[in-house]
Amino acid sequence: MHEYDVIVVGAGGAGLRAAIAAQEAGADVAMVTKLHPVRSHTGAAEGGINAALREGDDWELHAYDTMKGSDYLADAPAAEALTQESPKEAIQLEHWGMAFSREDDGTVSQRPFGGLSFPRTTYAGAETGHHLLHTLYEQVVKRGIEVFDEWYVLNLAVSDEDDPADRRCHGVVAYETATGNVDAFTARDGVILATGGLGQVYDHTTNAVANTGDGVAMAYRAGVPAEDMEMIQFHPTTLPSTGVLISEGVRGEGGILYNDDGERFMFENGYANNDGELASRDVVSRAELTEVNEGRGIEDEYVHLDMRHLGEERIVDRLENILHLAEDFEGVDGLEEPMPVKPGQHYAMGGIETDEYGQTCVDGLYAVGECACASVHGANRLGGNALPELTVFGKRAGTHAAGGDTEEPRVTVGWTDDSEDGDVDSPVTLGEPWTTEAVADGGAAAKTGEAVVERTLERERERVERLLERDEGTQHAEIRASVQHTMTKNVNVFREEDALKEALVDIRAARERYRDVYVADPSSTYNTDLIQTIETRNLLDIAEVITMGALAREEFRGAHWRKKHQERKDDEWLKHTMVSWSDGAPELWYKPVVLEGQNQTYEPKERSY
């Protein structure tokens, strides 16, 4: 049993920044992470980090772009916190030595990105995330913050009151990959989840294999609502064979999209007459797929992204990494040929519901980074807005958890008087309870924090043992593949009612099969089979929540396109989709969007680019 003031789960950009802030606010901090910190997926981010640094730009413009980009599903207080604090955080990284690209006068470079009214995307070549991750990890090393790497967090130790708002998180239980040890980490002040993305719900994704949405699933089963989960971002330029991302920086620098007829379709076919390739991601993704569906795709699958005209010097200076990716993963020389690209799952706008300090409705439980939904991205995230989210909210949550001074949050969490019940016309009985495996309950009769942790530890030991004991059944790989397949087929860029229902049926079937899941590897040394089996359980919950939200939201907003509902219905749908796990059943409800900012209200307008 380990005891700290603050436990940070996950060591990507968000976790590292949170740990630094918590330590600076005086807390004794430990990080528990399933990968070594420098292996986190933040390292893969390419394009850049938005911050209003220059004359002619300011946070208010950035906030406006963010609210508009979100299709008015972001909460203004969170978007304003993001845009107000990102300049300071970007320069903080610079002061920590981050190797940003530079202008002639030695200041950091910025470039245009989709949906931004000012070129405010600060970058380090086409490998911004790599530099950000390493710079933050260096600061963690410098400060001697304790890191338990290759420890897989199995569950949260949360008390068991009826109302999630009365519950408290006392720590986590984790599995040491190298040895098979299951042990508890008690957090006196708070647990901060920073577990990153959930792209593994899909089979064509830019996300790492480790991005299995563990944090969202654990918080969800502990009673914290998952917010706006149907809002999945598909990035328009991923390599068709692997899902590897070709940064938006390529279009930012002037890269052009062509269809099989050699048309610059973004303009020629009228998808975005002003911004063309630099329209926001949802717009470009739909345009590409429309081209493919209407027979103008190349090999019926993809379109071309051409950067040859930018010239070798500029490409090597600013996009060198892209040349390597295209060469290594598609065998294409970007200096000589256009690159094949198609949309792929990229980012989860939704996640664990939090306020602007990363707090959830469960006391002592925080979430930051891609696993969280402070609600800055709404229905569509602007490129370059996720990395500042890591630093800004990482810092805020770390400080808050450590008891640092903060103001009253303006975004509410949990069920309030403004919440309303939701419904989904679903083809299968939702919420058949999952009785035997890892329910949300951290400690049925446990009264003290210590007892809650003890009880969770015991349960998780039992779960691991049970999984290892079982001798035959279905392997996780099969279940995982079936979920990924149905999500890619049915819950993708274009969404239709029947397909969404089919996905729910398939997910339910996968759930049934999971009852029989078994781990073939009996070893307690580095048992990745066991870990993947537990991750697969998390993917099931997440796939179900995404699909439920998508089925219920009968409108077209941001990334969420519904065939029969081709308009944004502000009267009815200016609200967040919430799904909570309640007594073994997913429960759907809604809460209003906060459009009132500090000095202005963001009135929904038509989104044209």
Partner: protein
């Protein structure tokens, strides 16, 4: 050192549960042996298919009977254009043997977790096309590190060496304003650019004969990390001096015998040997002592 693998305190469980657990695990191990036979049979059938790629994969598990003695297993995976060594391993694991163990995550040469010894040289599995390799493709864990299981090696020593060079920015003249940049010339950024690309994969260290013979040698990756900071004009002369002192210690730069093996294997094309040579020159210039 901040990254520590902590041993949890020993749990005191009753002997009764331990024996029950042991019995169950024993049974499970027997079943595993049965499955292993089935796997070999399936594998033999697959081997008959000439279209498949033939992998020979190193196996070892200290705990599981039959795997305690290191051995090579054969897998035959169906080939698709563009398939990488990592794709082939994932296929083998998901289709033939769920216990096949290797680290991987990003699949795009940036997380540094799948450095392997493939046909006799250090490479990232995800960055290596199968079609570039002679068959059978021999896949082994990185040499010169302790094998934990199958293709997974213990990275602790590598991390320790990385952290020994004070791998964080230290500057004497940080700007006053919190929104003011500490300017860096384009040329200077260009100079350190390649050194900042290291993904901590450990390939260079594994390929280095000197590191193999001298456990205390800082090794190419850690020296490159020191280079990244020592050459950064923003740190200032005093810090640079201190950095040179660290890297020119007994087990530092002077151990390097310019064999270039690290430079050859680095998946990020970092000119490691060159960086080490340059630091040697800097050390001479600053009149530091030789070893």
């Amino acid at each position: 050192m901040s990254t520590q693998r902590q041993q949890p305190e020993t749990e005191t469980e009753s002997t009764e549960t331990e024996t029950a657990q042991d019995r169950r695990l024993e049974k499970k191990r027997q079943r595993a042996a049965e499955r292993e036979r089935a796997r070999v049979e399936a594998e033999e059938r697959a081997a008959a298919d000439a279209e498949r790629y033939h992998l020979k994969v190193f196996r070892y598990d200290p705990e599981v009977e039959g795997k305690q003695e290191p051995r090579f297993d054969d897998f035959h995976v169906p080939y698709e254009p563009g398939m990488t060594v990592l794709d082939a391993l994932i296929y083998a694991r998901d289709q033939f043997d769920a216990s096949l163990t290797f680290r991987h995550s990003c699949r795009q040469a940036i997380c540094g977790s799948d450095a392997l010894f493939v046909n006799g040289s250090q490479r990232l599995g995800c960055q290596t096309q199968l079609s570039d390799l002679d068959q059978p493709v021999r896949i082994e864990p990185l040499p010169h590190s302790e094998v934990v299981k199958d293709l997974v090696v213990d990275m602790e020593h590598f991390y320790d060496q990385m952290e020994a060079v004070e791998p964080y920015f230290q500057t004497e003249n940080r700007p006053e304003g919190e929104l003011e940049e500490q300017r860096q010339s384009r040329e200077n950024r260009e100079k350190i650019k390649k050194s900042t690309r290291c993904i901590w994969c450990g390939a260079c260290m594994s390929s280095c004969n000197i590191a193999a013979g001298d456990n205390e040698y800082l090794g190419p990756a850690a020296i490159n990390k020191a280079y990244r900071f020592a050459m950064d004009e923003r740190e200032g002369e005093n810090v640079k001096q201190r950095r040179l002192e660290i890297i020119e210690q007994e087990h530092g730069v002077w151990r390097c015998q310019t064999q270039f093996s690290c430079t050859e294997v680095c998946p990020k094309d970092i000119p490691l040997t060159e960086h080490i040579q340059e630091l040697k020159r800097e050390a001479v210039k600053s009149n530091l002592k030789f070893w």
